[in-house]
Each structure stands twice: as structure tokens, then as C-alpha cells.
């Protein structure tokens, strides 16, 4: 097969490329230029920097595969960064990596790969693709501590039939061992933990700089509406947040609600965070159709963790996730992903 490997300059995508070469495929390595400095150059901090592209290029040279850098700065800015800023100013907590996967990687880049006569797009994600009589399935990666199926929950049959996640079949440890065996220069490179376009900087400063007018001060209130203090912008808060409230209490207080239209942040005790159901919009199902009504599933409302027992049912044009036990810290803008065991059933946006 001819495959395109998206290489970020990290060890996972480096090894993914190596595994494709070892399997005898014709491999094209690409790095996406997603973010540019003021003069159009790659950033020197965060992810996908000039030095990351150089790392990817060197690995490609070691693997003797062609390597290209694709400029995706425009779609990334409008589809990922613009949305990221907007969501925060509207009081929600976005997950830009999910938007990037949805639009930039598995729509545009996948399309580009197919246009270049590639049979599949390969990435270094920790997830697994399986196929059987029912079609294509997306499973958690073998290494549960590194599982990235959550951020791939938007994929459907069309994408999965043209996607490969080779490192998802092994542990992170095994991935690093392969990198060392092959003498890849990225073998010991630490994983990037930050949002790629924010880097080590704080997202608050990033959003403020880009939407200054939307960041308005407002009241911090308790659940009865009584004003407890003032804040400098709803973007500084996320549901479930405990620190940084600017005041001290006898018992812990958490952000319970953010209303951007009135710039009001409501805080209260942990019990106020608990919700037994949540509305989810833009839900997509891997199989192309929803699961049976009332089927017991596990639903994750954040990247980390095992999720909680829940069922999903349709409500008007959207979906309702009903938890067996009330769950804390459900933040609008985050993604809810439903699992059946290790298999991703689908995902959508928390309203």
C-alpha cells in the first residue's frame, strides 16, 4: 500500500512511520505546519515547531522515506484556533485537539492523502481499528494509560476504512523500544503535553489577546444569586474549577455555572456540580447508527478516566446521556464519548 504518515516530530508518529516501512508499505512522511509566527515562520515553542519539523525530517531520512511539510495554517486558524477562542468567550470549555482531528486531520489531511493516491492515512495515535462483518470499529489503544480513542471519537466508517494506528496495538514502552532499536533520534523525546498553539503559555492570556472585547468583568455569585465578588472575565473559569476563585471559604467552592451573556460565574459546594444527565449535540456514531435505546454504556465526559455508567437516548435533534450515578464537573464544550467495553460507540459536544 501507499500510505501517508502524519509526523509531528514525536516518538509515536516516528515509530508509526517506521512500522509502516517495516511492513513493506510505500510511505510518505508529512508534517503539518499548523501555526505560524508573525512573519509566517514555524513557532519555536509549543508543538510542531521548526525543531519538531526537523526531528520529523531526520527520522524520515533515517527511514529513507520522502518527507514534506504541508501548510495548513489557514484552515487551522479558522477551524481550530478561532473556534477555541470563541468557545471560551461564550463560557464553554473547548477541546481544540478534537476539533483539529475532526476537521484538519481526518477531513482535510485524509482528503489530501487520498488525492495523492495514498490508500490510508497513518498517525501515531494510541487507538485501534478493527473490521468485521458489521464494518469498521474504533477501539481503545492497548496501552490504557495512553489511550487516545477519546479524541478520535468523531471518526466514522468512511474515515476508519482509510486510517491506520499502528502504535495503538502496543504499549508506549514498546513504542519507545522500537524507536531505540531503530536508533531514531526521537526515541527519548518527551511527549508534548500542552495545547500545540498555546505551548507553555496560559490559555487565558492567549484568548484575551485575541478577543479582548469579549472578556468582560462580572459578578461571582452563589447559587441563590447573591454576589460574592467580581471576576475579570468568564474565560478564566471552567466548570468544576476549585482554585483561582479569588476568595477563601471554610469549605471548598467550585465553579458550578458560567453564563457568558451576563458574565456571571456561579460557585458553590461540590454537591452543586453533580448532574444525573447531560444534553449532547452534534453526536456522531462510529457505526453510522446509534446503539439500542437503553443499552448500558460507559460515557467519558473528559479525556482522562474510565467514564461512568450511562445510557443514551435521543431527544429532539440531540441526545441525552443519563448517568447511573450523578457525575461532577461536566463542562459545556467538552466532548462526551460513549464506550461499549473497549469500543467507541460515538461522541458529541456537551451542551
Amino acid at each position: 500500500m501507499r500510505v501517508m504518515v502524519a509526523m509531528s516530530g514525536g516518538v509515536d508518529s516516528s515509530v508509526a512511520a517506521a512500522m509502516m516501512v517495516e511492513a513493506g508499505h510505500e510511505v510518505l512522511g508529512v508534517t503539518l505546519k499548523l501555526w505560524a509566527g508573525p512573519a509566517g515562520e514555524l513557532p519555536t515553542a509549543g508543538c510542531c515547531t521548526v525543531s519538531d519539523a526537523e526531528d520529523a525530517r531526520r527520522v524520515a531520512a533515517q527511514l529513507d522515506i520522502p518527507y514534506y511539510v504541508l501548510d495548513y495554517t489557514e484552515p487551522f486558524m479558522s477551524e481550530v484556533v478561532g473556534r477555541f477562542v470563541r468557545e471560551y468567550t461564550e463560557g464553554r470549555t473547548p477541546n481544540p485537539c478534537i476539533e483539529c482531528n475532526r476537521t484538519v486531520k481526518f477531513e482535510r489531511l485524509l482528503g489530501h492523502a487520498l488525492e495523492l493516491e495514498c490508500d490510508a492515512l497513518v498517525t501515531g495515535h494510541y487507538a485501534r481499528v478493527r473490521r468485521d462483518g458489521d464494518g469498521w470499529h474504533l477501539l481503545r489503544g492497548v496501552d490504557r494509560t495512553k489511550d487516545q480513542s477519546y479524541v478520535l471519537s468523531m471518526l466514522g466508517q468512511a474515515q476508519l476504512s482509510r486510517t491506520m494506528f499502528p502504535v495503538g496495538e502496543q504499549t508506549k514502552q514498546e513504542t519507545r523500544l522500537i524507536a531505540e532499536r531503530l536508533g531514531l533520534r526521537t526515541a527519548g523525546k518527551p511527549d508534548s503535553q500542552d495545547i500545540c498553539f498555546v505551548g507553555h503559555a496560559d490559555y487565558r492570556g492567549f484568548v484575551r489577546a485575541r478577543a479582548p472585547a469579549a472578556v468582560v468583568p462580572g459578578p461571582i455569585v452563589d447559587p441563590t444569586g447573591a454576589e460574592l465578588g467580581r471576576h475579570g472575565g468568564v474565560i478564566d473559569f471552567t466548570i468544576g474549577q476549585r482554585k483561582g476563585l479569588g476568595m477563601a471559604f471554610g469549605t471548598p467552592r467550585y465553579v458550578l455555572d458560567i453564563d457568558a451573556s451576563t458574565a456571571t460565574v456561579t460557585i458553590g459546594p461540590r454537591s452543586g456540580l453533580l448532574r444525573s444527565s447531560v444534553e449532547v449535540t452534534n453526536m456522531s456514531f462510529v457505526a453510522g447508527h446509534p446503539p439500542a435505546d437503553g443499552e448500558p454504556l460507559m460515557v467519558q465526559v473528559r479525556y482522562k478516566g474510565d467514564g461512568a455508567a450511562a445510557t443514551i437516548s435521543s431527544r429532539d435533534d440531540d441526545w441525552l446521556v443519563s448517568f447511573a450515578e450523578p457525575q461532577p464537573g461536566i463542562a459545556p464544550g467538552q466532548t462526551a464519548v460513549a464506550y461499549r467495553g473497549d469500543e467507541v460507540i460515538g461522541g458529541g459536544l456537551i451542551a
Binding site: T31, E41, P66
Partner: protein, 375 residues
């Protein structure tokens, strides 16, 4: 394999390489020393300087050896503007980044910089340049031919206008792309500074020159031991200078033949490609253009996809401008010509040179057309 990126760089002529070899192991001295080893190197350097000067109608003392065209441009722009107390710069929007980034640097230091747009045809009008000149303008910099489009600028016309109107401002021209095919006589051109680069003309990489008319003061950008009459410090690259001299002599001697031969291939390439690709636009068709350049725009084709397809088909070409990462940039030259971003991103530059074979133009057009369609 079709190498159609001569505007990016060229292989060395075998004669250039042969001429350079003795300077690696044998005549290896630092010309600034006071012993026989140094003297031999110094003699070679000065002989190279004389030979270089002769090919452009200048004097040896007017030649400053640099590390290439970029450095020559930096020296020309910064060296004259900063030498004048409140000096400003007039330049064009189609210049190479070496000039434009130097201009931006000058602006950051508080100097006035005027950037003149070309017409839609890619030619900068002398009148527009003259209009931008202020009392404190210390330099006008305009390239001889654009590296992306190959479109030739009216340099001697500008020089003549300056003379006839008594305009006293020095003119610098970046002739890096033009040297192989255009005759350069600095006296006739009426200019005051000229940048050239070795590796664009079958010479070595890492060496170039700035020719500076005698009497024009240039402040150094690189400071140190005072080589090149205090204008460009650093141990002289004797090996490079010798190679450059040979390359420049070969280019000058062969110019007429080169023009004829390369024009034939480039024209055959464009004719065939236009046949095979309906809707193809040739930038600068009918205008004064370097014979080496074929800058085209494909109907609705993304240049990134095109370059990958061409690479898979063993054709080396260029989008005309790229960033440090290797990703294709939207060309500032095309944007300055009034093209929209979408159209600018359909542009590809094919450039021919001394290793282009007879008949290669037409052959390459077939391969390019096939590759672009994804065969």
C-alpha cells in the same frame, strides 16, 4: 529525473570544481598572513578578484567577496543606509527576502523605508521609484530580474533617468538570477552596487560578491579583522573566490549560446505544457523575461499537492517561495502583482540551466503534465 529548479541552485561546472581543488589541500593559506603560504593564497584571491571584476566591467577594488547573494544584499542595503545619518531606503515589493528583511530591519531601527509595488504585469516602473525618493533617501534597491517570475526590471532605463535628471541617489541591483543570461556591464547599466551569487551560475555555494562603485561608502555589516578593505571581515574564502571567478568567466563567455539553447528548451516546455494543460497561465508571457524561467499557474491546482506529485515523478521544481520548514509560502511577489491568494497558490516555477539537455523541455512538459494529473 528532471531537474527544473536551477533558480534555486545549480550544480558546479566541472571546470569550477577542478579550479577550486588545489585550494583545499595545497594552496590553503590565510591571505592575511605574512609568509609565503599566505602570499600564495593572497595572490590567488586577488587574481580571482581581477577576473571577477573584468566579467562585469568593474575594477578589482570595487569587488567585495561575501558568503553569497543574501549577504551581498544585506551589505548593500544596510551598509549604505546606515552610513547616512538619517538615511532611508526605497525598494520594491518584489525583492528577494534578503532585501525585504534587511529593509524591515532598517525600519525597526527607525529608518524610513518605502516599498514600491510593481504593476500587475510584475514590472516596477522607474517613475514610481523616482516618486518615492525623499531628500534623505540613501539608496534605491531594485532587482535585475525577479527570482520567482523571471520578469526583467528596467534597470538601465532607471540608471539613465537618474543621470538625465541629476538624481544623486545610489542604485543597487540584485543580479543573482540574471547573470547567466543577461549581459552585465556596470558602467552601461548606470548603477552603483550589484549583488551576485556563485551557486546560481554553476559556481560554488557559500560565495558571492557585492560590487560597489568606487567612491561609494559602505559600512560593514560583519565586523572583525578588517578584510575586504574593512568592508567585510572574516578569513577570505579563497577557494570560493577562485571558483566564483571561473564560473563568472564561463557564464560570460557562453552567454549568447546559453540564451539561445535555454530559450529553446523553455519555450518548447511552455508550448507543450500549454497544449497538454488547458487553462494554463504563463506569468510574464510576452514581457521581458529571463530565458531560464517558466513560471506558470495551473487552473485550480494546489501547489503543495502539485509539488508532491512532481517529486514522486522525479521532477524537481518549486513553488517559488518557501519557509524555513520547507512548506510552500504564498508568494509575496505574486501578491504584490495583485494576484489573489488562491491563484497565487496555483503557481509553480520551473527553471532551466546549464545541465538542461537538448530536447528536455518538451520531454519534461510531458512528465509534468502526467504527474500533475496524478498518473
Amino acid at each position: 529525473m528532471h531537474y527544473l529548479d536551477h533558480a534555486a541552485t545549480t550544480p558546479m561546472h566541472p571546470e569550477v570544481w577542478e579550479a577550486m581543488r588545489p585550494y583545499a589541500l595545497d594552496v590553503f593559506g590565510n591571505p592575511s598572513g605574512s609568509h609565503e603560504v599566505a602570499r600564495r593564497a593572497k595572490n590567488a584571491l586577488e587574481e580571482a578578484r581581477e577576473r571577477v571584476a573584468a566579467t562585469i566591467g568593474g575594477e578589482p577594488g570595487e569587488i567585495i567577496f561575501t558568503s553569497g547573494g543574501t549577504e551581498a544584499d544585506n551589505l548593500a542595503v544596510q551598509g549604505t543606509v546606515l552610513a547616512a545619518d538619517d538615511g532611508g531606503l526605497v525598494t520594491t515589493a518584489i525583492e528577494h527576502e534578503a532585501v525585504l528583511e534587511s529593509a524591515a530591519f532598517l525600519e525597526s531601527l527607525g529608518r524610513e523605508v518605502a516599498v514600491v509595488d510593481p504593476g500587475e504585469n510584475g514590472i516596477v516602473g522607474p517613475a514610481a521609484l523616482i516618486d518615492s525618493i525623499q531628500p534623505n533617501t540613501a539608496l534605491v534597491s531594485i532587482m535585475m530580474a525577479n527570482n520567482e517570475t523571471g520578469i526583467i526590471q528596467p534597470i538601465s532605463e532607471l540608471g539613465a533617468l537618474f543621470r538625465s535628471r541629476g538624481i544623486d541617489v545610489p542604485i543597487h541591483t540584485d543580479a543573482v538570477q540574471a547573470f547567466s543570461s543577461e549581459r552585465i556591464d556596470v558602467g552601461q547599466l548606470g548603477i552603483d552596487m550589484l549583488s551576485l551569487s556563485g551557486h546560481k551560475i554553476g559556481g560554488p555555494k557559500g560565495v558571492g560578491i557585492l560590487w560597489v562603485r568606487r567612491g561609494l561608502r559602505v559600512e560593514p555589516v560583519i565586523h572583525g579583522g578588517g578584510q575586504e578593505m574593512g568592508r567585510r571581515s572574516g578569513t577570505s574564502n579563497v577557494m570560493g573566490a577562485v571558483g566564483l571567478a571561473v564560473a563568472m568567466e564561463l557564464a560570460s563567455a557562453d552567454r549568447t549560446r546559453f540564451r539561445r539553447r535555454i530559450a529553446t528548451e523553455r519555450d518548447a516546455f511552455e508550448e507543450k505544457l500549454s497544449d497538454l494543460v488547458p487553462g494554463l497561465s504563463v506569468t510574464g508571457a510576452g514581457l521581458p523575461r529571463l530565458v531560464s524561467h517558466s513560471h506558470v499557474r495551473f487552473p485550480s491546482l494546489d501547489q503543495q499537492t502539485a509539488l508532491i506529485r512532481l517529486d514522486r515523478a522525479a521532477v524537481a521544481a518549486s513553488a517559488g517561495s518557501s519557509c524555513a520548514s520547507g512548506a510552500a509560502n504564498t508568494s509575496h511577489v505574486l501578491l504584490a502583482m495583485g494576484m489573489g491568494v488562491t491563484e497565487a497558490r496555483t503557481a509553480l516555477r520551473f527553471s532551466f540551466g546549464w545541465t538542461t539537455a537538448v530536447g528536455e523541455g518538451e520531454q519534461a512538459a510531458q512528465v509534468v503534465s502526467g504527474a500533475i494529473r496524478g498518473h
